[in-house]
């Protein structure tokens, strides 16, 4: 009969050990518009899709990525053109997550990536055109920005769904230089 007591204590210790070092079994449910990555001991094991995911809660974790589309809209941004004029532009666009793994690692907040890429591409493309060129080939420029942005977003796990220049006008020569110390955003 002492064997029963010893077995009882052994089982109890094993259970405590499993809970202490491995964790306890649990599940996470991902919604239809979510993707996730299962991490074990800090490193990615596999990508998981919508549905129930079983895991060990002490050593594993699912980090979810919202794959719904991310709308982007900017207005009244200024850019210098090659002939010294300043263009004022605005755009709207839409992108969604194509590859959850790439998107998760693309930035601290991956929702900012489409806005960043569209802004960078718009400014870079517009800066290489003159005011005369902007007036006659706006559609061509819009297509060029969309093409560049699509390629960059694809590399970062996103899919560009739409892009449109909503505002484009010539505002005049650029501002005079200002070599004063910059104002910082301290509170």
């Amino acid at each position: 009969m002492p064997v029963i007591g010893i077995l009882f204590w052994c089982c109890l210790l094993v259970l405590v050990g499993i809970r202490r070092f491995v964790g306890w079994p649990t599940t996470v449910t991902l919604l239809q518009y979510q993707s996730g990555i299962l991490y074990r001991k800090g490193y990615p094991v596999r990508d998981v899709g919508p549905g129930r995911v079983r895991m060990w809660a002490g050593i594993e974790k699912v980090i979810t990525v919202d794959t719904r589309s991310i709308p982007v809209s900017f207005e009244n941004r200024a850019v210098a053109l090659t002939d010294g004029q300043t263009a004022v532009f605005g755009f709207s666009g839409n992108a969604d997550v194509n590859d959850a793994h790439k998107a998760l690692y693309s930035a601290q907040n991956f929702n900012q990536v489409p806005a960043y890429v569209l802004l960078v591409c718009s400014r870079a493309v517009l800066n290489q055109h003159s005011s005369a060129n902007l007036k006659i080939s706006q559609n061509l420029i819009e297509g060029k920005i969309a093409e560049q942005a699509k390629e960059r977003l694809k590399n970062q796990g996103f899919n560009l769904l739409s892009f449109r220049l909503t505002q484009l006008s010539i505002a005049g020569p650029p501002p005079e230089s200002d070599n004063r110390a910059p104002r910082t955003a301290s509170a």
Partner: protein, 185 residues
């Protein structure tokens, strides 16, 4: 030892065990760090260690743990107006990614990683490009981006932060033509 005594021993042992676990069990969950995060552990207010990815014990009563995200933070610094080395009015915009190179330095030296870094970047960028002659030709931009990266990283390194993938998205300078010589033969 008879049967009753054994079962009594098992029963009271289990009761004691469960009570002890309820009393001494940790209230905080374990700290799970994915491979894109690190954590800086302070013990009694002093630097203890940098926690690597994995599952870690929660902070004790005399410990504080600050989690740091090592993924890049995209930033844009737009329309910095300046006078270049030839006193020509110029405009520059850059886009870059801010990454943490040293979690301890970043946590202890910057109150707000992005805002504080952008202030340093604006200041350093303006002083660096003001010493050059601005050439807005597209082929010069990559070289300029490389030089800006070096200059900014020299300044940001002591804060545990670095910039990478700098792109010059806008560059313009008013060309100043030299005055024509009058009356020269």
């Amino acid at each position: 030892m008879n049967n009753d005594n054994i079962w009594l021993f098992v029963f009271w042992g289990a009761v004691l065990f469960i009570l002890a676990q309820r009393i001494f069990a940790r209230k905080k969950p374990r700290i799970f760090l994915p491979d894109f995060q690190r954590a800086v552990k302070f013990v009694d207010g002093a630097f203890g260690s940098v926690l690597e990815p994995g599952s870690h014990e929660p902070a004790g009563k005399n410990e504080q743990i600050t989690v740091v995200d090592m993924r890049p933070q995209p930033i844009v610094v737009e329309r910095i107006t300046y006078q270049d080395a030839m006193q020509a009015p110029s405009v520059i915009s850059i886009a870059a990614e801010l990454v943490i190179s040293d979690p301890f330095e970043a946590v202890t030296k910057l109150k707000n990683l992005v805002n504080d870094s952008i202030a340093i970047i604006r200041d350093q960028l303006r002083s660096m490009v003001s010493k050059r002659i601005t050439d807005p030709a597209p082929e010069i931009r990559e070289k300029l981006a490389g030089e800006i990266t070096l200059a900014l990283n020299n300044d940001l390194r002591r804060f545990g932060v670095q910039v990478q993938r700098i792109e010059v998205t806008e560059l313009w300078s008013r060309t100043i033509k030299p005055p024509m010589a009058i009356g020269a033969n």
